[in-house]
């Protein structure tokens, strides 16, 4: 009986302790960070939303934005992002979680490679690894410099721009310096496509 009442008393303590801790750690703390975030870095705190030339929210600089049909084929007018196990849905991030020897992954990689080589008119061996593999989040907004370069001719032609103009846009959106050294040189597709849209003659 004594032991039982000891447990019961401690359970009461635990419940009150948890409730009070929740007020501090589950309400005051996140709200304080929210307040500081909105004051110090509202752009980042709200999802790095970038605007189009008319000032309307057009994309997040951190989330892949892809023009694709139901089957997941990306629109040839625009720069393509990496394949995605999440079908680029910002509300459903996921990786393929297929093993490095998985036959399903092997087939997917081979199919991606053949499709990209055909679409860009290049040799299969010229298609870089990031172009044929799904990212960990399925929302990776960036591609390798090699994959961006591969797409310049097609995108330039589709929009009536010179390849040099489009290549300059790619260069402008390429991560460089320390960030590229620690990570790797990459190009942001979401922002790059906005640049292309802004420069292209209206259709």
């Amino acid at each position: 009986m004594n032991i039982f009442s000891g447990y019961l008393r401690q359970a009461g303590t635990a419940l009150r302790f948890l409730l009070l801790a929740t007020v501090v750690l589950g309400l005051i703390y996140p709200l304080a960070i929210f307040g500081i975030g909105q004051a110090v870095a509202p752009f980042q705190a709200n999802g790095s939303i970038v605007k189009d030339s008319a000032g309307r929210p057009a994309a997040s600089a951190l989330i892949a934005q892809v023009v694709a049909d139901e089957a997941g084929t990306q629109n040839p007018l625009w720069f393509h992002a990496r394949p995605s196990a999440a079908k680029w849905d910002p509300g459903a991030s996921t990786a393929s979680n297929l093993g490095p020897n998985d036959p399903k992954l092997l087939d997917a990689v081979k199919a991606n490679r053949a499709a990209i080589a055909a679409a860009e008119g290049v040799k299969e061996s010229d298609v870089p690894a990031d172009a044929v593999t799904a990212s960990g989040s399925g929302l990776d907004p960036q591609i390798s410099v090699a994959y961006a370069r591969l797409q310049v001719t097609r995108v330039a032609k589709a929009h009536g721009l010179s390849p040099e103009t489009v290549q300059a846009m790619v260069d402008r959106r390429t991560v460089t310096g320390l960030e590229a050294f620690l990570g790797q040189p990459s190009v942001n597709v979401a922002e790059l496509n906005l640049d292309v849209a802004a420069a292209a003659p209206a259709k």
Binding site: A11, A14, F17, L18, A21, L25, G26, P30, A32, I33, F34, I36, G37, V40, A41, Q44, A45, N46, G47, D52, P57, A58, A59, S60, L62, Q65, A86, P90, G91, A92, S93, A95, S96, G99, P100, N101, D102, L105, L106, V109, K110, R113, S125, A129, D130, V132, T133, S135, G136, S137, D140, P141, Q142, V175, F181, L182, G183, Q184, N193, L194
Partner: protein, 555 residues
Amino acid sequence: MVFNVASFVTQVAVLLLLLILVHKPLGVYLARVFEGKRSTRVERLFYRVSGVDPDSEQSWSIYLRSVMVFSAVSILVVFLLQRLQGVLPGNNSLPGVDPWTAMNTAISFATNTNWQTYVPESTMGIFVQMCLLAVQNFLSAAVGIVVVVALIRGIVRTRTDRLGNFWVDVARTSFRILLPMAALAAIVMVIGGVVQNFWSTDVVNQATGVTQTIPGGPVASQEAIKILGTNGGGYFNANSAHPFENPNVFISLFQVFLILLIPSALPYAYGRMVGDQRQGYTVVGVMGTLWLSSTALMGWAVASAQGTATAAAGGLGEGFEQRLGAAQSSIFATATTLTSTGAINVAHDSLPPLAGGVAIVNMMLGEVAPGGTGSGLYGLLILAIVSVFIAGLMVGRTPEFLGKKIGPREMKLTAMYILVTPVVVLALAGVTVLLPDAMANAPASGPHQFSEVLYAFTSGANNNGSAFGGITSSGPYLSTMMGLAMLLGRFLPIVLVLALAGSLAKQPKIPASSGTVPTHGWLFGSLLLGVTVIMTALSYFPALSLGPLAEGLLK
């Protein structure tokens, strides 16, 4: 994707330098908090409302009872409120969580595991994430820390049965250590690009016609404690691979730093509390050696880019994030599995076979390099006791540890601690492998399928929480078995550690003699390192051979 060796080495060097710089001031601060006598006015109010007498200390059994009752109440509350999500505010129009997932998740977060059997985006609303899960991130980390503090008190104190007050220890650890550090980290993360708001944003690309709903949420505040408290449960399904949790390589490196921060400063606090800094340095030296070796091994295994699909892709890429790169992801994958974190910034299932194997071995080491917040240090101190026992056998003396006799009772507790986790992992994985229905949840074939199951139970029983994500663990069988693995893997070791603390505290201190094996210095450090590696190898080698070794060596 190329593995950039120069970047890899630079990042490891930067981490090492930063950790060396901060471990001393942080360790001193930690020790001061643990040894503090006075409570602040806010804390006193907190104790009064909770019904805690901050001046009364507890015996080991009452301390343990507080740990168990507090964890049980946490599990029950988190379970019930998840079930009620549909009628609670802040549910983002999501219904109550199904009972299996709610049970598994409640256990998972209260045991510092943060195994996620659910897809957060379509299961957990803001209330559940912010007021339940993130709060458990703080409290479960604090529980791990106070258990090692009780053990250290058991070593230091003599002829007493008092080990401190659990409630006071948890409150101080949460509010004086974790909260201010998490707040600073969260602010850095927001500035770096991690989201912190309470709404989603609709965007329309006028040129392409694409519309998207960009999610929001109190991500930075949760991310900070998720990493700092070696928890690992992400706000989003993709965890630290998600651009909103981990927007760039700088934040990613910062996250690795935060993962290692408290566990690598605790040994300094330990050295200070036992009054012999050499003890702390020996422990942290072993941790550091294991961390560096494992990181190097992981880098090598990732750079090998083994695998038929990887070869067909022309290199690494599947499961990696372009902005983070393979070097950063290897370092992250090592740190997250050597601690009880389990956050991921690369899909571990898609790593080359031997790299996945390194991740599994890291967890099997008992997560002691530097380990989870608190649990890493008590894990390594148990191994240190095994080491003095073995050394004692060699010289034919009763083993001692810092002036305390390691008699039959202490040695039985220690031996059981060493056995608990391997037994849980191998028994549950073994049973699961025999059940075809359960194995259907791991869709891979051959050794990789076995690796997925072995990874899951290793992760659960060691309270890590990362996964080979191909496995579907949301059904009744795996939810329950994983729940069991997490409970046993968390609380049996805690029972044993606190019992050990109680039995050490009762003893008088015996002066060191010429026959005492010193528990510091190169010789003992090497012995401890050897014991740690050999224990793991003896327990797990057969299982490892059937999974990652078979896949990595035979192809």
